[in-house]
């Protein structure tokens, strides 16, 4: 693998659901007794494959867009890249810090202030204390809000939440940034 490759996916397959040990899958055992369906045969029982044999190589400095119809498993691919879910088969190699800017503000506590949210995100993505202090300063500059950062985010407008999310994404030092509909924000739980 070349030195400047930051993402490499080799033969990645993905199917959802918890892969249970074989003795806990009565259906499959029954099928095997009937004489068809080995572990790699096309008749294998289980949920459908959402990704089949994906190979991808991204080099440093490249920007890659993944285009497909609804339900084409674009987000599933990004989840595997982000190491949120393991591939059923195949291998993923990442080099450097990865930052998934996937609707980053989603699911955080409404009563927390902007500053507290930034701290929380920092801990979630694994920043050190020093990096976090630096990040807070940078975001203050980026958003140009000042006092607003000490208000609970439930008082923010949709646009402000988007700006905060984007600010964090832009300011966290990372080698790989994943964006999945991050800019169409709005679905804040």
């Amino acid at each position: 693998m070349a030195a400047d490759v930051v993402i490499a996916m080799q033969g990645v397959w993905k199917r959802y659901g918890l892969p249970l040990p074989r003795w806990l899958r009565p259906q499959e055992q029954w099928l095997r007794l009937m004489g068809n369906g080995g572990p790699h045969s096309p008749q294998e029982v289980g949920r459908p494959w959402v990704l089949r044999d994906i190979n991808l190589e991204v080099r440093r400095g490249e920007t890659v867009a993944i285009v497909g119809r609804n339900g084409a498993a674009k987000s599933s691919l990004l989840k595997i890249l982000a190491d949120v879910t393991p591939p059923t088969r195949g291998q993923v190699v990442r080099r450097g810090r990865l930052f998934p800017m996937i609707e980053i503000t989603g699911g955080l506590h409404q009563e927390l202030t902007g500053r507290e949210i930034i701290r929380l995100i920092g801990a979630i993505v694994g920043l050190s204390r020093r990096e976090l202090a630096h990040l807070l300063l940078e975001i203050e500059e980026f958003t140009e809000w000042g006092a607003w950062l000490d208000q609970p985010i439930r008082t923010y407008s949709t646009g402000m939440v988007a700006r905060l999310g984007f600010g964090v994404g832009a300011c966290v030092p990372s080698d790989i940034v994943l964006i999945d509909e991050a800019l169409s924000v709005g679905d804040l739980l």
């Binding site: 400047d4 659901g17 982000a82 990865l98 989603g106 801990a123």
Partner: protein
């Protein structure tokens, strides 16, 4: 290599450091976010055990439960406060991934941090509820002595047990929400099967062997012994609790490690 390469930051954190940082952040978040819109705030940590205590005082009186020459209220309070911590910790663990789905689904992070943070978060409530016990012990002038030095060790054991079972219920709760529905019921039964309202001595001899398998028996009896009875722990009961905690961890930890990889698939 491209000349405009971005500044590379070294990956300074180990997995353990990252987990600790995350636990810390989650506990702070929970603590700050939790009571901001509530009138009584942390007082809720007192109200729940206080309600139970009043009920116990009544039931204890009606059933004439013996309390080993200690006022019954202190006797039961010393068991109820640690029990409430244990029970609340588990109740918070079960739906933790469901509530935090938006984060877990999107970012790779050490997932152990969530149940651990719930247990540590319950510790705050435990300390608040401990005030009732302290007040009650002062009121009844309960003598305290050296056995109290066992307290940190017992607390640690309770935390370990709660975390171990917390791993199991949080994993099960992520796959089947029934776990979350069943838990309050199970905890209520479990409390009745633990010497909270009554003492271990009142359990008939022939049942004691089985009764001891409940890991909370040794812990609760231990808290009561050192807090209000001024005795050291019963080594057999304690050994039973440590043993069963160990067994629970041996099962819970690998189970959690394996199932947690796939949490994002089902949330």
């Amino acid at each position: 290599m491209a000349s405009s390469a971005p500044v590379r930051l070294p990956q300074t954190q180990t997995a353990l450091e990252r987990t600790i940082n995350l636990v810390q952040a989650l506990v702070v978040r929970e603590f700050k976010g939790r009571y901001r819109r509530s009138l009584l705030g942390p007082a809720w940590a007192i109200i729940q055990p206080l309600g139970y205590l009043l009920m116990f005082a009544f039931v204890g009186h009606v059933l004439n439960i013996t309390s080993q020459r200690v006022p019954y209220l202190v006797f039961t309070c010393s068991a109820l406060v640690p029990w409430t911590f244990f029970s609340n910790a588990l109740a918070r663990c079960a739906p933790t991934f469901y509530f935090k789905a938006a984060i877990v689904r999107k970012i790779a992070l050490p997932r152990e941090a969530f149940p651990i943070a719930e247990v540590i978060g319950s510790l705050v409530d435990f300390m608040v509820a401990g005030l009732i016990l302290v007040a009650m012990m002062a009121w009844y002038r309960t003598p305290v002595g050296w056995p109290l030095l066992w307290f940190p060790m017992l607390l640690l054991l309770t935390i370990l047990l709660a975390t171990g079972i917390g791993f199991v219920v949080s994993a099960l709760g992520t796959y089947q929400f029934d776990t979350v529905f069943a838990l309050p019921f199970v905890m209520q039964l479990w409390m009745l099967a633990t010497p909270v309202m009554y003492s271990f001595q009142s359990v008939p001899q022939r049942w004691q062997v089985w009764y001891r398998l409940n890991p909370m028996v040794g812990i609760i009896e231990g808290f009561r012994a050192i807090l209000v009875l001024g005795r050291v722990l019963d080594p057999v009961l304690l050994a039973c609790s440590i043993g069963s905690t160990l067994v629970i961890w041996i099962i819970a930890w690998p189970l959690f490690r394996y199932t947690s990889q796939y949490f994002a698939d089902v949330l």
